[in-house]
Amino acid sequence: MALTKEIYSVFEDVVGPESICADPVIMPSYFGKNFAAVILPKDTKQVQAVVRLCNKYKLKFRPICTGWKGTFPENIILLDLRRMNRIIEINEKNMYAVVEPYVISAQLQAELMKRGFHLNVKGAGTNTAAMLRGHGHLDQSTSGDDRNHLAIEWVTPEGDIVRSGSLGSTDEWFSGDGPGPSLRSILTSAVPPGSTPGVFTKGAVKIYHWPGPSRLPVQGVSPNITLSEIPPNFMARYYSFPSLEKMMQAEFKIGESEIAFELMGFNIAMVASNMTVSNEEDEEVFRRLEKESQGLGFFIIIAGNCAADFEYKKKVLRHIINETGGKSLESIEKDPRTEGILLTNCIRISASIRETFRSGGMFASIPSMGQRDLTVRWAVGAGKAKRSLIEKGLVVDDGGAFFGWGVEHGHLGKTEIFCRYDPLKPGAEEAVQKWKAEQQKRASDEHYFAMLWGPEDEIGKGLCDYQSWWSKIRKAIDPNGVALEAGSLV
């Protein structure tokens, strides 16, 4: 449904003719949907004006940041927040940074590192919005999910500007909660699977101490990029374990001893992907690492605030690894070049693309956030089910592995299992989606965790019918029903 000329021109008046486009030719680059228009607002005021117009003309809208893939209904207004890309504030003393939606994690991270800080980087990559809710490799020491948000500036679905927490009362960004109950009960995320209707136009995020250099000493020419030296008081290793039980024991002990800067439960296939620059090399290295590894394992970065701290942390790590029968992957331990590649990838990129999309072009994932040991138990079964797809040649062989890690030094966790596959291979897409549906259902039926995607009524049934409350909240804050929740990943 095209916008009428009059309505189009009203939006054009807000953002200018160069920042609105309804030409069908651009739509393939916007998820292949026929959007009523793609609009690029430059600031909160323009977002507010656009949202108000959407309410006036009963046009549904959805914001996106960098994008990735996504699913959207047709004929909505797509707000591409690309022009809102300023770092508003970095408050070192009070450990937060304030960003607009299109500041990507890489940018904020680089600015923070100059000042001796860093932030949680999501698994979606440092090429995505810094204010995203999500999980990533650094969760062990920098938390995840919606727990890194502080105050948020939110344009509500009706077009009001609400500034949460301290922002609304004092113009400062340090707290997102209150007065009284917290709006962060709904201001959780910009993106699905849980997303807040409306638009986050600015957000404050927690920042963390960075014990490394102001800039990682990156060298090489793409794609052969590594570090010229491992930064002082840094160490990266991969340990494999004789059993899942031993691995989890080590993971929990490391969490409780608070020694890890990063603990990322990569499986060997993901390590191989990250170390290598092509699919061919990936397969070859995977086979080699499989032989070196004794079973499931994880990647860990130790970073000391000073030499004494570093020595202590290494000593504890050695002890725990010995206790649990862990074995260090020599390909990393004995090769600073590989160690450097992984350090770079896991801190500055959040790895991701090589280990997910490169091999087949597509991956289908079942992530679960929450209690780590519980979700691991479920993942074992999902991995076994994946093996039959591997045997049939429908998905990339990664040994049936899953991965995950502890969050907040093991208090919480994330477990994920995915299939990498070629969607054009006959039968692959179908098989993968079937596997995904079956395993999600099993997670729900056996009380591990709830399904994340699916009809809300179905999911909500087993979750205290939360969707009925959510639906009421949505109606209350979005009476005209214009603010969509489904959309792009980031």
Binding site: K93, G165, S175, G178, G180, A308, V316, L463, W469
Partner: protein, 488 residues
């Protein structure tokens, strides 16, 4: 209004009270809110009783005021805001439902106090991230739901910590469980597969636990809470750092928390530190105060399972570098108070009488969240106000608690007074209002508005409050849940 008999059918005759002296005890508290007598007090023992009470209250449009802690109360949130209210006193729901060492989580009912929970978690090798010396009768659940600041900011990753999940009934009477507890399955079914209600987010989009925190019971009644616990250290080494100037202590504090070296960490002025330890008033208290520096930073280093001495030793080295740079010194004893004494004290609830009541019998707290940069100005203005009012800045207790891993701090002014002295009472009441106003003008964020100042605070952020009102209409459409509180 609910007839007593109907409540009796739910909880039994011993659990419903409407004797005048009982009602009088709930009609007012240590705050300045207007006394309002409830119609009766009901003390449920089980969650389904709570649900039935709420359903009945909806049917009869009866206000309910949930209370979990024992007296004395200080905030005005447990005093009915309107007549005809029923106090739902949960203090008899005293089950410690579980303590799980592996997942570092405990689940408790609302009546469990810190004094009761601490030994239960200690037994499993765990400990609580506590507020500063809560009173003996303070409910753990109450404290958590109030978002009271905790003394180990390192372990407060989010302002909602240590809350994990909660089981509750909304003002509609509908049952809800937040976070991981929501499902799939009942809590018991989750236990059967090892689910221990640890993850706070969800279900779905919402982080529903944030809705009930800071709500003063206006959204519903919580019947249990799971909370994250920390590991009991195997070795602890506390220190104190004194200074006449707050700045270097703030600088040191921000680094200690940034580097995650310290567990317990907070700053007290001499008035408050003396108040914690003085046993006799006024002489011993005054002597103690006179011998203490204006400000004392307390922090504790801890080691756990692996090489605790080395861990602590590494921290000490790092901190030495910091203190030298700042020209302050970390010591084991300051002005007659030892760091070990402080540590021992703060790992338990307050002894009796409650430390805030020892000097004068009553205390009004003014507390807010702020950033370090603004503290000096905020403290300055309150000092000025109290001096002007004849209260005297030297009598003012000040407590600074870094929060959420260093993203700002909780700042608390404790005004001790004799509630039997009308002049003192009036002076403190006026000061509370004027200080709140001045502090707001200087960037203080009153994230937890209580009592008489609530309106002033809520008015500051009409947009947020407008959205919260929408929530209130959803979760408590008949406005029976503690009406008139939390800005509603």
């Amino acid at each position: 209004m609910i007839e007593k008999e109907r409540l009796v059918t739910i909880v039994g005759p011993d659990k419903v009270m409407n004797e005048p002296q009982v009602l009088q005890a709930y009609a007012q508290d240590m705050s300045f809110v207007n006394p309002v007598r409830p119609a009766c007090v009901v003390m449920p023992n089980k969650a389904d009783e709570v649900q039935r009470i709420i359903q009945l209250a909806n049917d009869t449009q009866t206000p309910l005021v949930p209370v979990s802690s024992g007296p004395p109360h200080f905030r005005g949130d447990t005093v009915p805001g309107t007549g005809g209210a029923v106090i739902v006193d949960l203090s008899q729901m005293k089950r410690v439902i579980f303590v799980d060492r592996a997942r570092r989580v405990a689940m408790v009912e609302p009546g469990v106090t810190f004094g009761e929970l601490i030994p239960a978690v200690n037994k499993e090798g765990l400990r609580l991230n506590m507020p500063l010396l809560p009173r003996k009768s303070k409910s753990v659940v109450g404290s958590i739901l109030e978002r009271e600041p905790v003394i180990m900011p390192k372990y407060q990753w989010d302002i909602s910590d240590p809350l994990a999940c909660a089981g509750l009934f909304f003002g509609t009477g509908d049952e809800f469980r937040t976070g991981q507890a929501a499902g799939p399955g009942t809590v018991e079914e989750q236990w059967a597969v090892g689910g221990m209600q640890k993850a706070p987010y969800g279900p779905g989009t919402g982080s529903w636990h944030r809705l009930i925190q800071g709500a003063q019971g206006t959204m519903g009644i919580v019947t249990w809470v799971s909370m994250r616990c920390e590991i009991l250290p195997s070795l602890e080494e506390p220190f104190v750092v004194g200074s006449s100037d707050l700045d270097p202590l703030i600088e040191l504090t921000s680094w200690l928390i940034r580097l995650r070296n310290v567990n317990e960490c907070f700053i007290l002025n001499s008035t408050n530190l003396a108040a914690l330890f003085a046993k006799k008033y006024p002489t011993e208290y005054q002597n103690l105060k006179d011998n203490l520096p204006a400000w004392t930073l307390f922090y504790n280093l801890a080691g756990y399972e692996y090489f605790p001495e080395e861990r602590i030793s590494a921290y000490i080295k790092e901190i030495d570098d910091l203190t030298q740079r700042l020209k302050i010194e970390a010591v084991k004893r300051i002005g007659g108070v030892s760091a070990n004494e402080i540590l021992k004290a703060v790992q338990q609830p307050s002894g009796e009488p409650y430390w805030k009541l020892r000097s004068k019998g009553a205390c009004q707290d003014i507390f807010f969240l702020t950033i370090y940069d603004k503290l000096e100005g905020q403290i300055g203005v309150v000092n000025h106000l109290v001096d002007q009012a004849g209260y005297g800045a030297s009598n003012l207790g000040i407590y600074i608690q870094p929060v959420v891993q260093g993203t700002g701090c909780h700042c608390e002014f404790n005004l001790f007074f004799d509630s039997g002295n009308p002049i003192e009472l009036d002076r403190v009441r006026t000061l509370s209002a004027s200080a709140t106003q001045e502090l707001m003008a200087r960037g203080a964020f009153f994230s937890r508005p209580y009592g008489e100042n609530t309106g002033m605070i809520a008015n500051r952020d009409a947009a947020t409050v407008a959205v919260l009102h929408k929530f209130k209409k959803i979760f408590d459409p008949n406005n029976i849940m503690n009406p008139g509180k939390a800005g509603f």
